[in-house]
């Protein structure tokens, strides 16, 4: 029971990060129908920039409380990520808005490679460890442990998502976004500057991505120039799971995916344990004896595979996602 609860807590933490990243995908997709492949790299850049700022500040021995140092990192990372997303949209996507669908997809993958390799040049090939500024304090919750860091991550993610929903539902910019998503031409006729709206979607997504990047890094304690790829893929899966183009869907999908992954990684070893079968070969039986009856076909090193299977299953059985509208073949 406590293992289940533990996995749920871990899944919720990871899931709220996925949800933040998924919002970036889903906003852009909802408005211009483009999968921004490079969004995962924006998360990575956010993580890397804040890591550099934090290590820099610590290196200078500035007498600041840890929380301020982390906030400083975030405050530098957010504008940089926003600038990258803005430039990316302007340079690589905007000129191709009327081009065949294949063209912006290819530039998106190109942008993703460019960002990755720029990061590789700037931050190097090795894993970078995040300095332990705050030692997460574990608390006991019905037999499972939950750290204050996890609480902060989930809480902050919830707050940001609430803020985004407010912006989209209650402000003029949000209204313009919804109008553009429904019909860009007509929205343009109503006096909405579509370019501004589209840029806004990219920039807001990038700000959320920067926060998500910092969260992932403090949670795992490491960052790497390649980290954006899988994270982006998972967040995209989350967006599809919830129904792409739908904000609530992205949040739901992110959290569900986080939980599926955590439960999957936690239980796959037991589920695929093959020691109970009588038809084992001798060598396998010896392995069973030496490993206390625990020899699994798949271990938790397959954690990254779950998101992909979720994606395939959703696409087969409910391509519109949990909360989304029907996805037509070609819009």
């Amino acid at each position: 029971m406590d293992i289940l609860l533990q996995q749920l807590i871990n899944g919720l933490t990871l899931g709220s990060v996925y949800a933040l990243v998924a919002l970036g995908y889903t906003m852009v997709y909802g408005i211009i129908g483009l999968i921004n492949f490079a969004h995962g790299e924006v998360v990575m850049i956010g993580a890397m920039v804040s890591l550099s700022v934090v290590t820099g500040l610590i290196g200078m021995h500035v007498p600041l409380p840890p929380i301020v140092i982390i906030l400083a990192g975030l405050l530098v990372a957010i504008p940089i990520c926003m600038a990258i997303a803005y430039t990316m949209e302007k340079v690589a996507y905007r000129p191709l808005r009327k081009a065949p669908r294949l063209a912006p997809l290819i530039t998106a993958i190109g942008m993703s490679i460019i960002l990755q390799n720029v990061a590789l040049i700037v931050w190097g090939r090795n894993y970078r460890t995040f300095p332990t500024l705050i030692q997460p304090t574990p608390y006991n919750l019905f037999g499972a442990s939950i750290t204050d860091l996890q609480v902060v991550i989930v809480g902050l993610a919830g707050l940001l998502m609430g803020g985004l929903v407010f912006v989209v539902q209650r402000t003029r910019l949000g209204m313009a976004m919804r109008a553009t998503a429904q019909n860009p031409q007509v929205a343009g006729l109503m006096g909405i500057d579509i370019n501004v709206v589209i840029s806004a979607a990219f920039v807001i997504g990038a700000a959320l991505a920067a926060v998500a990047g910092l969260m992932v890094m403090t949670y795992y304690g490491i960052a790497h120039y390649y980290m954006g790829f899988l994270l982006g893929l998972k967040a995209f899966t989350a967006a599809v799971l919830g129904g792409i183009g739908n904000l609530a869907g992205a949040m739901l999908g992110g959290i569900l995916l986080g939980i599926i992954e955590a439960l999957g990684a936690g239980y796959i070893g037991d589920v695929t344990n093959i020691c109970g079968f009588p038809f084992l070969s001798d060598s396998l039986q010896q392995q069973c004896v030496s490993n206390d009856g625990q020899v699994s076909l798949f271990g938790s090193n397959y954690q990254d595979v779950f998101a992909f299977f979720v994606l395939i299953l959703v696409l087969i059985f409910k391509p519109s996602g949990l909360l989304g509208e029907r996805v037509s073949e070609r819009a």
Binding site: I35, F37, V91, P95, P100, I113, Y302, F308, E329
Partner: protein, 362 residues
């Protein structure tokens, strides 16, 4: 049947002379390259493997207009099938010609399995699913060394059997008719033969009923459907055929390298092959071949010029060629799509389609 028969013209002797010259040039090329260094013969061989890969991807991306970002997974399947069936790892040593169809078939099966659920949906989904699939295959290859050692994990499989006919091994150097012929030089001719076969198949496919159906789907899927094309099956066929070419290229890669590891099949490899197709000109076979050759040679040129240049300028190597190579590929993808969307050597139809229309539609 009679409607598509083309009138056969007698080929003028001048053209034959041209063909003969090209054939002669291709025949002596490995010896010219070999006189510079055996490394260049290997590069030539790689160029041909990449040509096969790029032509396979071209069927999917160029002809049918479906973006496949995990193409390297099929290459990996072909390579590992060969590695497992012709190495001491399982102590199975099947001959090349038996394994090649198995590898191609298995890659094709994977292509169908992957394509079937996604092809009904919009193209973007296919792109992301294939992207994930490429990564998944790599994760499986990396981890399938326990509890039963299938793939030997990250260490990869080595001492793979070389390509051989009877007792004539293509891996070792020997004197043939008074000329010293190295292993890579022998492989060159095998690869050349295979590449020519792949090119001919591609040319025939492009002008076939199927090839025209692919192009129709790429241009306008709804119209193609209205013309009676079973779009889903035809797209699936593009996917399957592209995948099997990838499988073939993987098999021959395994045989020439005699070593495979999951590292060779990263996402970047997919992007590199995609860059070749895009740079050369999607849908145009000569263009794709050109793209593959250019982008295989580019990193070698970078390696041999950039690092010494940096040593002279800064006294040390600041940027290694490998990083710059990928950066260049990324920039090339973006720049080509922005400024020359039909590629360096476009096909006429594709050029018309990919250029941004001057008059705004709708």
């Amino acid at each position: 049947m009679t409607t598509h028969r083309r009138r056969k013209k007698a080929i003028p002797p001048k053209a034959w002379a041209g063909v003969a010259l090209v054939a002669l040039a291709l025949a002596v090329l490995p010896f010219v390259a070999g006189s510079v260094g055996q490394a260049w013969v290997r590069i030539l061989n790689f160029a041909m493997i990449y040509i096969m890969l790029a032509l396979g991807l071209n069927i999917v991306v160029g002809f049918a207009g479906l973006l496949d970002l995990g193409y390297i997974a099929f290459y990996a399947v072909g390579a590992y099938v060969y590695a497992l069936l012709a190495s001491p790892h399982f102590n199975i040593h099947l001959p090349f010609w038996v394994i090649l169809p198995i590898g191609a078939g298995l890659a094709c099966l994977f292509g169908v399995l992957l394509g079937a659920p996604t092809l009904k949906l919009r193209g973007d989904y296919l792109a992301i699913v294939t992207l994930g699939f490429g990564e998944i295959i790599r994760i499986f290859l990396n981890n399938m060394n326990a509890p039963v050692n299938m793939t030997n994990g990250p260490q990869g499989i080595n001492i793979i059997d070389p390509f051989r006919i009877g007792s004539f091994s293509f891996a070792q150097a020997e004197r043939l008719g008074g000329i010293q012929v190295s292993g890579p030089q022998k492989y060159y001719y095998v690869l050349l033969l295979l590449t020519i076969v792949v090119i001919v198949i591609n040319l025939r496919l492009q002008n076939s009923r199927l090839g025209r159906a692919w192009e129709a789907i790429r241009e306008d899927e709804v119209a193609a459907k209205a013309m009676g094309i079973n779009t889903r099956n035809v797209k699936l066929l593009a996917f399957a055929m592209g995948a099997s070419f990838g499988g073939v290229a993987g098999g021959i890669f395994s045989a020439t390298q005699q070593f495979v590891s999951p590292e060779s099949f990263s996402l970047f490899e997919s992007v590199i092959v995609l860059a070749m197709v895009v740079l050369g000109g999607m849908g145009n076979i000569p263009g794709v071949i050109l793209g593959a050759i250019l982008l295989t040679l580019l990193p070698e040129v970078l390696r041999s010029t950039m690092e010494p240049l940096q040593n002279v300028l800064f006294g040390r190597v600041l940027l290694d060629a490998e990083t710059v190579r990928l950066l260049v590929f990324g920039i090339a993808l973006v720049a080509i799509m922005l400024y020359r969307p039909a590629g360096l050597w476009p096909s006429a139809v594709r050029k018309r389609e990919l250029e941004v229309p001057k008059v705004v539609e709708q």
